[in-house]
């Protein structure tokens, strides 16, 4: 089986922050680090070093710029188990130390970190994965929790009631609290046993002065467009983050609605399941209710947790490859991107165009107009209802607000420099280190007309001046159709054509130039943005009910404050090829 041998944590400058050994004699972190750094970034998460003694498999994750290592030198381990474990460790640290994790926080709280690390795995056997439940076992000084959690909005204050006084009195109070939780879990108190054991993910004795519930739905876009503008794939990867600050043991019921998608497909649960594909749930969710009714019924852990993950195929399940529907406009995204390469007299310019597909742009470019026509063609589709409505909003669901757009155009390494960057709006710059052009446009500048960026690139010095034809294949003039049945005589004719086309030197040199600079042209471009208050999938939270009958430790009069937040993020998620 797989045992965790050790956990090493490095800070953002690869200085060793912490090492915790669980079992055996794992390779020391300072031996592993150089071997790990030998690999070019992005580094694989599983590396094998046969040169070490004993040969070691190194698992690593990067979270908040901290580097987590877990070496394994024994028998075969399960990579996913170890990686998940490392993620859980990061989650647990975050639960106690606040998000994001900072090296200084860990260094200042070694005692807490040590307890967490000792609890999550017992001598290498992973045994305690729930960050929230760890609060029952990890001893923290009251001040620490207050300081750390009070400000990030986690229930630090309420977590340790009666500890504000400080001094020995408070300490004994804390002791009493532990005593309580301890006996709460013993078999002597059935009510609390049930509570403690049936809900392994929730800590005991949760108390909050203000009861609050927040649902944050985040969708990450992953859209790929063919050079023709046709959609190859369009997915929205969603996560529901839930924040529960409710006393006692609340029993919640979260209903989502699809916003009109999948209408006419059985009951609401079926519709929802048709939209939310390949769902994964926090263990607290009752799968049976999801299966039968399509609602999320659960007893939440305290604080913030990932309730559910899902993905939405924005193309819809029934889309075929030839259907005209699969155009970008039909997604209803707030912005589109187009790219034209090989412009200019020598074909060394390219143009990136940001468009706003959903507005009725009067003076829009031809490209936008064509998109418009696509849109009107596709407007009969139900998904239109969920399209983004622009508005200078506050970020709530009625008036979604856009963050600034970033277009990134990676350029081939052969590109020596980008001489001219002419954005019509926003600012653009060329980053020679990673060889890409980055163009930022603020949302307020971005009107219905869209924005254009035109760049001129320069290739390597040697290839610039000389008659490009000399080293060129010169085959662009002929098309080379492969056909088995072609008679032998055809060679002759095509040969003749070739010669003819070669006979026009001027044209060839122009073509050669274009061909030469085509190598330097970008092959793709990506668009990043984030929209608050809008979801690409059109999902909405319909209701969030607190079942007062099933909940425990909560007065019947308690009406928790409920908040919902939607966010759609594209982190280089919209990719256009060219």
């Amino acid at each position: 089986m797989s045992a965790i041998e050790a956990v090493h944590i490095f800070d953002e400058h690869n200085n060793l922050l912490l090492t915790h050994t669980y079992t055996g004699r794992p390779s020391p972190p300072l031996v592993l680090l150089p071997l790990y750094l030998q690999h070019a970034a992005p580094r694989p998460s599983v590396l094998y070093f046969p040169s070490l003694h004993p040969p070691t498999v190194l698992y690593s994750i990067v979270q908040d710029n901290l580097l987590f290592f877990s070496p394994s030198s024994g028998n075969d381990t399960e990579p996913l188990l170890v990686l998940e474990f490392l993620h859980r460790v990061a989650d647990a640290l975050e639960e106690f130390l606040g998000s994001p994790l900072l090296a200084s926080k860990i260094a200042a709280n070694y005692d807490i970190v040590a307890q967490i690390l000792a609890e999550v795995a017992d001598a290498g056997t992973v045994c305690h994965g729930e960050a929230n439940a760890l609060r029952d076992v990890v001893e923290t000084e009251p001040g620490v929790l207050n300081n750390l959690l009070g400000k990030v909005g986690l229930p630090g204050n309420a977590a340790v009631p009666g500890l504000q006084g400080g001094g020995p009195l408070a300490m004994s109070g804390s002791g009493g609290g532990i005593q309580r939780t301890g006996s709460g879990l013993s078999a002597l108190q059935p009510a609390q046993t049930a509570q403690g054991s049936a809900i392994p993910w929730r800590r005991n004795n949760v108390k909050h002065t203000s009861n609050e519930l927040y649902v944050d739905i985040v969708e990450t876009l992953s859209v790929t467009l063919a050079p023709s503008g046709r959609l190859l794939s369009a997915f929205a990867y969603g996560s529901i983050a839930f924040t529960s600050k409710v006393s006692g043991v609340p029993d919640l019921l979260l209903s989502l609605s699809t916003g009109g998608k999948g209408a006419g497909m059985g009951n609401r649960g079926d519709q929802l399941r048709a939209v939310m594909e390949r769902t994964v749930f926090h263990p607290c969710v009752r799968l049976g209710r999801w299966k039968t009714e399509g609602v999320l019924s659960f007893v939440p852990p305290d604080g913030r947790f990932a309730l559910c993950g899902y993905e939405v195929d924005l193309l819809g399940p029934e889309v075929t490859l030839t259907a005209g529907k699969s155009t970008y406009g039909s997604l209803g995204l707030p912005a589109g991107v187009e790219i034209t390469v090989g412009l200019g007299s020598s074909g060394n310019e390219f143009e990136v165009r940001l468009t706003q597909p959903t507005t009725s742009g009067g003076g829009a470019s031809i490209a936008t107009a064509s998109l418009q026509s696509n849109l009107s063609g596709g407007s009969g589709i139900g998904s239109r209802s969920s399209s983004y409505k622009p508005g200078v909003g506050t970020g709530d669901s009625k008036a979604p607000s856009l963050d600034k757009f970033t277009v990134r155009v990676p350029l081939p390494t052969a590109v020596r420099s980008v001489t001219e960057l002419r954005p019509s709006k926003g600012e653009a710059h060329w980053n020679p280190v990673d060889g890409s052009v980055e163009w930022r446009v603020a949302a307020k500048d971005f009107g219905p007309l869209g924005a254009v960026l035109r760049c001129t690139i320069q290739g390597p010095l040697a290839a610039d001046g000389d008659g490009a034809g000399a080293v060129l294949n010169g085959m662009t003039a002929t098309t080379y159709d492969y056909n088995d049945d072609e008679p032998a005589s055809a060679y002759q004719t095509s040969d003749g054509q070739e010669k003819q086309s070669n006979g026009v030197p001027a044209q060839v040199s122009r073509e050669a130039k274009v061909e030469k600079s085509r190598e330097l042209m970008p092959t793709s471009t990506t668009l990043s943005f984030s929209v608050k208050g809008w979801l690409a999938s059109g999902l909405r939270v319909e209701s969030l009910l607190l079942d007062n009958k099933k909940s425990r430790g909560l007065g019947p009069e308690v009406k928790p404050y409920k908040g919902v937040k939607y966010l759609t993020v594209s982190r280089e998620g919209i990719e256009l090829r060219c």
């Binding site: 532990i178 078999a187 009510a191 992953s222 492969y482 993020v569």
Partner: protein, 806 residues
């Protein structure tokens, strides 16, 4: 796979970072190091706060980088164990585990205190004490640890029982001789009613016990299967692994050959039919062949793990997929594909491992991945290793796709073959090559056409790669591609990539002979290509020059062979004068060749031989060219050819060397070499055998353990647990229970509950602990009824029980 820290990073922006930074800069509790005596003084203090502060400093010193010496505090730290404060205990225990090995004698001093804590009234204290005691790596105490575990196994609190299960692992590591005792303890713990105890026991079982013996698993098999949904992720993973091995060893694979059954699998096949008409006949044929009859117990396992496919933990999903792949590839595996695809959403580190495993599943059952092809389209932002694996999946599913998907995939591959990244170009061109091996002739022709088009690219790297793949394709079936070779030869006029040119020249030398036959004796395309190339010999790179010389040698040799054959034919015909003529010419040639061989520099023989065949002349010219090539290697090669072909009448050795059929290159999927590794193992990811535990073969029919073991054992265990449970209830008086309630009732929320009657408590406990198990004679019936319950039942049960508390 869903990690809250990842979502937070999406939700929170730089604002929070600055906030954090500001706070960190602000006033903090001082962590400035104190001198050793002062820390000792803190530890000796009577005030809990000061002791805690001292301990905290020591722990910080222990973890700090560079680590500071903390061993000097050992006695002082141990002394604090006698304090009654629970807050200091975890830190002391932590210190103790860390330092015990360094100073075993001092560590032993603490054993007594810890043993006392083992009978503390607070189960958490007991659990912690047990955990710490087992964690002290001093072998002398192994028997004490074993005894402590024994006590913990029968503890009332599941917390302690869980700690006992985990302590088993440590105990065996400490001292191998305790293994038999530990196995006994584990057998008891495996039968525990509390799912997290059982989960931990399974984890410990996997660590401690060999997977050869399942004596302790048989009786609890069914119970564990039903419990798996409620266990924590780590228990689930261990159980899935255990049960996969168990099923292989205990359920023989019975295969029934049936005509056709409208099974689920068949329905799935039907579902894909419209997507992939080509493969449909194959799959239906496979359906006809065999239907495996699963043991009902195996079916129980397979169905009870189905809900785990919606786990948030990627390792669990993969473990279920692995169980399905190795136990029921036809019936259950299809349902696991979607969740596997969902792993692509996870962070990059997990995604990479998941992709390796997906490729492995895809190698076994490519058609299942066809509906998800969109997920495997490449993205420019992906790390290179992920791209390679995605390309592999795409090529694996390529043969099962419908034509329009195939064209999309080819367009995709074509696009990436024009990428500026040379590694990606290579990967994608090779992927096209693998696609071209598809059995369907039209699609493979399209692949070839795509590759041939790539030859026109101005990217030398791409052309070189494409040429290599084309060469492989042609080598695989040379007769079909004769024309392709000729057409490639035509490209030599324009191609600049040296690798590609060399490849084409080689191809011409190898495969143009058939064409040569067609055109006529000695001439043919190969000779012509040779002739043209020799003209530009000076301008070629070394690689191409070598190939030109090789081509020349082959053509010349073939020509010699031809001549010889003719000669023989003529001899057979017995035409006298012609014979004499040919012998004369033959002699002449011999003489000429010898002269040539003896003195290459002499130009006279050549000039004399005005009648000699152009091929001969060409060959001599080529040899001359090669002789003045700067490269040693090429000159050596040319010398070798010259010696080989020196005597025109004996060409056997030369034919053997030059015209031998070349082995057909195989281009298997890159992960083909990893096929033997187990799904989910690290070996699979790193591609090397890491001494993993392999999966046993299916047990032979008739040699499996009796199914009755699971049957009666189940009842027996239920009785045992019931007995223990009842004993537990009996040993605690009602008064004690109430005391406990009142003690805990100090809190706000519990005070209300304290007012309830004892009966209510008891009812609830029964409802919780034993799912309706009461006492005596009713018990066995109840137990059998619960056995039939599915996992949905257990959930609704949870709801019910939640409803009990008003």
């Amino acid at each position: 796979m869903e990690s809250i820290s990842r979502i937070s990073s999406l939700l929170e922006t730089a604002r929070d970072l600055t906030l954090e930074a500001a706070r960190d800069a602000g006033p903090r509790k001082s962590t400035r190091p104190l001198p050793v005596p002062q820390i000792k003084k803190l530890l000796d203090s009577r005030q809990e706060r000061e002791v805690l502060d001292g301990l905290r400093r020591i722990i910080a010193m222990q973890y700090a980088n560079p680590p500071q010496a903390t061993l000097t505090f050992f006695p002082a730290v141990l002394k604090t164990l006698s304090h009654p404060y629970p807050s200091t205990r975890p830190l002391v225990y932590n210190y103790l585990i860390h330092h015990a090995e360094l100073d075993p004698d001092t560590a032993l001093l603490s054993i007594n205190t810890i043993q006392k804590s083992l009978s503390d009234s607070n189960p958490r204290v007991r659990a912690m004490a047990l955990k710490t005691m087992a964690g002290i790596r001093v072998p002398v105490i192994s028997q004490i640890v074993s005894l402590a575990i024994k006590k913990g196994v029968s503890d009332l609190s599941p917390l302690v029982r869980k700690a006992a299960a985990l302590a088993c692992v440590k105990c065996v590591r400490l001292d191998e001789t305790t293994r038999p005792q530990v196995e006994e303890y584990l057998a008891v713990l495996l039968a525990d009613k509390q799912y997290y105890v059982a989960g931990a026991a399974v984890q410990a079982f996997m660590e401690v016990c060999s997977t050869e013996r399942f004596d302790s698993i048989h009786p609890v098999y069914r119970r564990l299967c039903r419990m798996v949904v409620d266990m924590d992720e780590w228990g689930q993973i261990a159980l899935l692994k255990l049960m996969t091995v168990y099923a292989r060893r205990c359920f023989p694979r019975r295969i029934k050959r049936t005509k056709r059954a409208q099974t689920r699998e068949q329905k799935v096949q039907d579902f894909y039919e419209d997507l992939e008409p080509e493969t449909q006949p194959q799959s239906s044929e496979a359906d006809y062949e065999e239907t495996s009859i699963a043991d009902p117990d195996l079916t129980l396992f397979l169905t009870s793990i189905a809900p785990l496919l919606q786990s948030r933990t990627s390792a669990v999903i993969l473990a279920v997929a692995s169980a399905y792949l190795y136990l029921a590839p036809t019936t259950h595996l299809p349902s696991a594909i979607g969740p596997l695809i969902a792993l692509l959403r996870s962070p990059q580190d997990i995604q990479q491992v998941a992709l390796h495993n997906m490729v492995q599943v895809c190698l076994a059952q490519p058609s299942l991945f066809v509906p998800y092809y969109r997920h495997f389209l490449l993205r420019s932002t992906e790390p290179p290793h992920a791209r390679g694996l995605k390309l592999e999946v795409l090529t694996l599913i390529f043969p099962s796709c419908s034509p329009d998907i195939q064209s999309l995939l080819l367009a995709e591959l074509g696009h990436f073959s024009r990428s500026p990244d040379p590694a990606l170009v290579r990967e994608s061109v090779r992927a096209i090559g693998r696609c071209a091996q598809s059995p369907n002739p039209t699609s493979s022709r399209r692949c070839l056409a795509l590759l041939l088009n790539q030859l026109h690219s101005s990217d030398d790297n791409l052309v070189g790669e494409a040429m290599q793949v084309i060469r492989h394709l042609i080598q695989r079936s040379p007769t079909e591609h004769r024309k392709t070779v000729i057409r490639l030869a035509k490209n030599l006029d324009h191609l600049t990539s040296a690798t590609a040119r060399a490849g084409i020249v080689w191809l011409v030398g190898e495969f143009a002979d058939c064409a040569g036959d067609e055109v006529g004796q000695g001439g043919g395309v190969a000779a012509d290509v040779w002739r043209i190339l020799v003209k530009g010999y000076a301008g070629e790179g070394e690689e191409v020059r070598g190939q030109i010389v090789g081509l020349g040698a082959k053509v010349y040799l073939r020509w010699l062979n031809e001549r010889k054959k003719e000669k023989e034919e003529k001899m057979d015909n017995g035409v006298g004068d012609e014979l004499s003529l040919s012998t004369r010419t033959g002699e002449n040639h011999d003489g000429e060749e010898r002269g040539f061989a003896e003195d290459v520099l002499a130009h006279q023989p050549q000039e004399e031989k005005t009648t000699s065949h152009p091929i001969e002349l060409l060959w001599q010219h080529t040899l001359l060219l090669a002789r003045y090539t700067p490269s040693y290697h090429l000159r050596d090669r040319a010398r070798l050819y010259r010696a080989l072909l020196a005597i025109p009448s004996s060409t056997e050795l030369a034919s053997l060397l030059l015209l031998a059929p070349k082995p057909v290159p195989q281009a298997p999927s890159p992960s083909e070499s990893r096929r033997a590794y187990l799904l989910g193992s690290a070996s699979l990811v790193v591609g090397e055998d890491l001494r993993g535990v392999g999966l046993p073969e299916w047990v032979e029919d008739g040699r499996e353990p009796d199914a009755g073991l699971r049957e009666e054992g189940g009842d027996g265990k239920a009785e045992y647990v019931g007995h223990r449970e009842r004993g537990g209830v009996g040993s605690v008086s009602a008064g004690e229970r109430l005391d406990g309630v009142l003690a805990g009732g100090a809190g706000v929320g519990v005070a209300k509950k304290g007012g309830r009657t004892l009966d209510a408590w008891l009812d609830e406990e029964d409802g919780k602990e034993s799912s309706g198990e009461s006492e005596g004679s009713v018990e066995s019936e109840e137990e059998t009824s619960t056995e039939d319950e599915s996992e949905e039942e257990s959930e609704s049960e949870e709801d019910e029980e939640a409803g009990l508390v008003k």
